[in-house]
């Protein structure tokens, strides 16, 4: 994933770690809350807008892939792209990247358990139940 920083109040983004690029950027522009630095380039939008642009672009790609002849690679690509979108929303919009790892565990553990249960179910002949 691209390295994204937003210049925003401390409570709103990752705390700057001493000696990191983020600390240097924050020190250089402490009052600019609506700019995103991504891979060294400064964009005149909040990080939320940049993420929205990425989500929209991925969705367009997904729709294009879905219109192509069906295949395993296309399906895997669609799943990967949707996972990327979900992670972006959870990390940036739900601020999970700034929160306690406990919240990540609360979210991930039930998903993993249900996936395991589903994998078990796939080994059972379904029929038309």
């Amino acid at each position: 994933m691209a390295q994204v920083h937003e210049h925003a109040p401390a409570a709103f983004t990752d705390k700057a770690i001493p000696g990191t690029e983020k600390e240097a950027v924050d020190a250089a522009a402490p009052h600019n809350h609506d700019v995103t630095v991504i891979m060294g380039r400064t964009l005149p939008f909040p990080v939320y807008t940049v993420v929205f642009g990425i989500l929209a672009a991925i969705t367009i790609v997904e729709v294009i892939i879905s219109e192509l002849p069906e295949g395993t690679i296309g399906n895997i690509l669609l799943i990967v792209l949707s996972l990327i979108k979900a992670v972006l929303v959870v990390a940036f919009y739900m601020h999970l990247r700034e929160e306690s790892p406990l919240y990540t565990a609360i979210l991930v553990v039930p998903v993993v358990l249900v996936v395991i249960a589903t994998l078990f179910l796939t080994s059972v002949p379904l029929g038309n139940y």
């Binding site: 925003a8 109040p9 409570a11 709103f12 809350h33 909040p46 939320y48 807008t49 993420v51 929205f52 989500l55 929209a56 969705t59 997904e62 729709v63 892939i65 879905s66 219109e67 069906e70 399906n75 669609l78 799943i79 792209l81 949707s82 979108k85 979900a86 929303v89 959870v90 940036f92 919009y93 739900m94 601020h95 929160e99 406990l102 919240y103 609360i106 979210l107 553990v109 039930p110 998903v111 358990l113 249900v114 996936v115 249960a117 589903t118 179910l121 796939t122 379904l126 038309n128 139940y129």
Partner: protein
Amino acid sequence: MTDTTLDHAHDDSHGHGSIAQQADNWKTAFWLYLASEVVIFSVLIAMFVLYRLEFPARIKEVHEAAGVLLVAINTFLLLTSSWAMVMGLHQMRKGDRAGLIRWFSIMCALGALFVGLQYVEYQTLANEGITLYSDSFGMRFYAPTAFHGFHVIVGVLWGLLVINHARKGGYSAERTIGIEVFGLYWHFVDVVWIVLFTVIYLI
């Protein structure tokens, strides 16, 4: 539903800890609630996936009947509403209450539009003979999508309550926990749709 205002989060006079601690408590409680939602939606999605593996031809028929355009538009509506929601929070954290109300109004309008288009989609499918009880596909399709639609309706109503509370001066740059908790809900609904969109409509 969680108290939309969460006004008492700023009241430190009852000995329940600092503002930050109370905000953390609200967030922890709400994440636990979301975990229960994860289980419910995961089971519904798993049921669809198992059906999809067993009856791929039926899924292809439905895809051809429904098309992807309407659902793709709905996906953009929900993604945009999620962006509007977080931009509203962003504005409130800068002390711009009018900005919060403006962005949340957009969010609620997009959410309502999503529900309207979902109704149109259901009508289209019904005209194609795909209903809740038409065959074994019906329940597996309508259960997760309608349950999600119900969450969108709840979210729109909740968003309107947040707007109403903001109009009365209920939030400040330092006191946004009520908005944050609502944001967790709305973005979760968005994440669920991201998964449903791929699993049910694209694959």
